[in-house]
């Protein structure tokens, strides 16, 4: 480890590439925890937004007009406003209006922390798009398939969970893929409410260590890598869902 640190110090002295996040223990620890926070924000909001998409698309097909109206309103609001404005709305607009709770030290604390607000607002933001994405998949499921399932005695929820959603998912996976990639990149907006994610800690590091150009390149590479991992996971999922003799699975 020491030899490695020494090598990076030499790298800096000879080339100007100052990777304090490798050879400086404090910077390294900050950077790793920022990376961890980005992964946490992304994982949580990806999963919650998928659930929002699936539930919202189901509610859109509800016989209750009020419910359908609510879902459509939600989609319009969260799709047509900038995600940064949404984060500010929740953190600065809504949070102070909510009741306060006592934290572990008996102090008055807001109901949700900035990290939780980031997850909530990112999930809703991506969830609104997911509702539309799932709906496009649902529309591709033939009416006759649904009737066959109904005539086997399935109720509305059973039809959705066991047949419509699994088939819709396969149709809309490429669009879902795009939206989730976008969501991962949008987690950087949590910077604005001081969530210590990758961009936020990087700024602290480049301010303290005066290595702006190096950190910029590091940031780009980190996101290339993170998105690459997400895309890889999505492709594995897509392959797992492929059905022999159906859609893209037919080509196998």
């Amino acid at each position: 480890m020491d030899a490695l640190a020494e090598w990076f110090r030499t790298l800096y002295e000879t080339t100007g590439v100052n990777l304090t996040i490798v050879y400086d223990a404090y910077d390294r620890q900050r950077f790793v925890s920022g990376l961890g926070m980005t992964i946490y924000l992304s994982t949580a909001s990806v999963l919650i937004s998928i659930v929002i998409g699936a539930v919202g698309a189901w509610a859109q097909g509800s016989p209750l007009r009020l419910l359908r109206g609510l879902v459509n309103g939600f989609v319009v609001v969260f799709r047509n406003t900038p995600p940064l404005v949404q984060i500010f709305f929740f953190y600065f607009g809504l949070s102070p209006l909510l009741p306060y709770v006592e934290d572990m030290d008996g102090m008055r604390a807001p109901l949700f922390s900035n990290v939780q607000w980031a997850i909530i607002s990112l999930s809703l933001f991506a969830g609104a798009f997911n509702v539309e994405i799932f709906r496009s998949g649902i529309e591709a499921v033939p009416r006759s398939t649904i009737e066959a399932v109904e005539s086997l005695g399935y109720g509305r929820l059973g039809v959705y969970l066991h047949v419509v959603l699994p088939l819709a998912l396969r149709v809309c996976l490429p669009a879902l893929n795009n939206n989730l990639v976008n969501l991962l990149k949008t987690t950087t907006l949590a910077y604005a409410i001081a969530v210590p994610e990758t961009l936020y800690v990087s700024k602290q590091i480049w301010t303290d260590s005066q290595n702006v150009p190096t950190m910029m390149i590091v940031l780009l590479l980190v996101y290339v890598g993170l998105v690459g991992v997400l895309v890889w996971i999505m492709h594995r999922w897509e392959r797992r869902l492929a059905i022999p003799g159906y859609g893209q699975g037919a080509a196998r």
Partner: protein, 262 residues
Amino acid sequence: MGADALTSPASPAATGWTPDQPIVSIRDVRKSFGAVEVLKGVSFDVRKGEVICVIGPSGSGKSTLIRCVNALVGIDSGSITVAGREVNDPKLDKLALRRTVGMVFQQYNLFPHRTALQNVMMAPVQVLKQDKREVEARARALLAKVRLSGKEDAYPGELSGGQQQRVAIARSLAMRPEVMLFDEVTAALDPETVKEVLVTIRELAEEGMTCILVTHEMGFARSLADHIYFTDRGVIVEHGPPAEFFAAPKDERTRAFLGQIL
């Protein structure tokens, strides 16, 4: 396991229906889509174990009629009872009705994301909450019955139309229905595979399953049906046992239709 145990209903209907009454009774049923009246007062009875065929030109309301029997389509007036259960009742227990009535469609409509075996098992396990192992044994036996042993793990996309249609029949039978509805189930098949599906239906009928078939296979209808109904523009124009019906059709429209199709 004998064929009887495979297809006979699990429990008698708790509706006061007794086997001396018609199991399906259709009375003056009317149905409109928008301004178009598709069924204009249709009535007939089906007794347990009977096979009846509904024939008629395209658009005459045959599909609509049999879809009313399992409540896929609601009726405007009249009454349909299935094993004593009124289908036109707003408080109808659709699950109970659909356990009693199995339906097979022209387009097979299998679950494309499930294997043949899973297709047959899904509804008994997920809807009726039956024991998975017991259902699996029954599903394997049903697939054997429709001559699909060895295809248990094939996905619908890997099967021919005739094979898919036989999976669809096995899938319906797994619910142990008392009545089976078949809506032009061979119309989308290659001529070579029509026969394998008809053989399956014939065996089922000969075992005593009550069947209502919409079909264009006149030879099949003639040799299998107990009674033929000819529909045109939402009414039953003529009906009778196949021998009489085909030998001496009385109505001009029936003669014209049979002249075209035979």
